[in-house]
Subunit: 186 residues, 2 copies
């Protein structure tokens, strides 16, 4: 199974550091060429499911421009220039919640859109989190920190209360990981 080739690329919209659009000329594995393939560059981001030493999940109830109503959300944010994903994850956890954690597990990195790009998500599970500082409020969104039991997180996820794709994705991946860990201990 051969991969597709990018024969050329040009920027057709340079909006800001939040959005650049390119048009690519792409050669398919069977030799066909597509001359105006749109490619969307959005910032890379991290999300973190953090579980405290007491077994509570650190979640937010927060609004987002793209959502009609508030959603449950994990910790998250954009990578800063040159920042490693794990460093960004640890920074966001501390900034947004005031918590630090000694144990970090990667839950993978995923391209957001297989056709258009649209950024990359880096997911982490932080265990044994403990309060180390006051959170810093520097995001545009209002957000309220809530402490949920694992069963409450699972129930909220099943009811669609994590309304964004990356938030549902990392929450499901974290629950599977923790269930597997639990199963392997049983």
């Amino acid at each position: 199974m051969q991969s597709w080739k990018t024969l050329s690329r040009r920027t057709i919209l340079n909006h800001s550091r939040y959005l650049v659009v390119e048009e690519h000329t792409v050669e398919l594995p069977d030799g066909r060429v597509i001359t105006s393939w749109p490619w969307v560059i959005l910032p890379e981001y991290v999300n973190v499911v953090a579980v405290t030493t007491e077994g509570k999940f650190l979640c937010f109830r927060q609004g987002k421009y793209g959502l009609d109503e508030p959603s449950l959300a994990p910790v998250g944010g954009y990578l800063e220039a040159g920042e490693e994903p794990l460093t960004a994850a640890q920074r966001e956890l501390l900034e947004e919640t005031g918590y630090e954690a000694p144990l970090w597990i990667s839950l993978g990195q995923y391209q957001v859109d297989g056709n258009r790009g649209a950024g990359t998500a880096h997911f982490f599970l932080a265990l044994q989190a403990q309060r180390a500082a006051e959170p810093v409020a520097n995001d545009l969104e209002e957000q309220e920190l809530v402490y949920l039991e694992q069963a409450e997180v699972a129930s909220a996820l099943a009811k669609g209360e994590f309304k964004l794709l990356p938030w549902a994705a990392i929450t499901a991946l974290a629950l599977l990981h923790l269930n597997r860990e639990f199963a392997s201990l049983a």
Copy 2:
């Protein structure tokens, strides 16, 4: 917690049916106004985790332009104009695999990007799927249908072999749903 208001919107790039970019003037709940908020319109899509009467998961090994190497993937595709998500899901399952299923469970619908939009994903779990026709090859991608056991799917997911965000998301949500169903029967 109040939602954000869109005060005005204008199209700044009308590329094709695959991509439109708008710029919005947005009022935050605290009264601040942002005048050039980029908003990306990508097509809505469905993904389907389908499990056969023999308990096999219908997956593809396929390439995507956005991926450097092939990935495991569920069934999926764009909604056609005016098409309901469930109808699209059933159409894609039949077209891509030749299977039909009598039992469909929604695994939710999710905005892809909370800041930029970037489309909406609709996820379904199809159970008791049975072969009804020959698949139709009409996508750009080469893809090979593979039949996996649930434990193989879980293992591949944990190893990062579902490389796109929606593919990892729906697979994790489906496994959680099936685990919960199993637990409630135990």
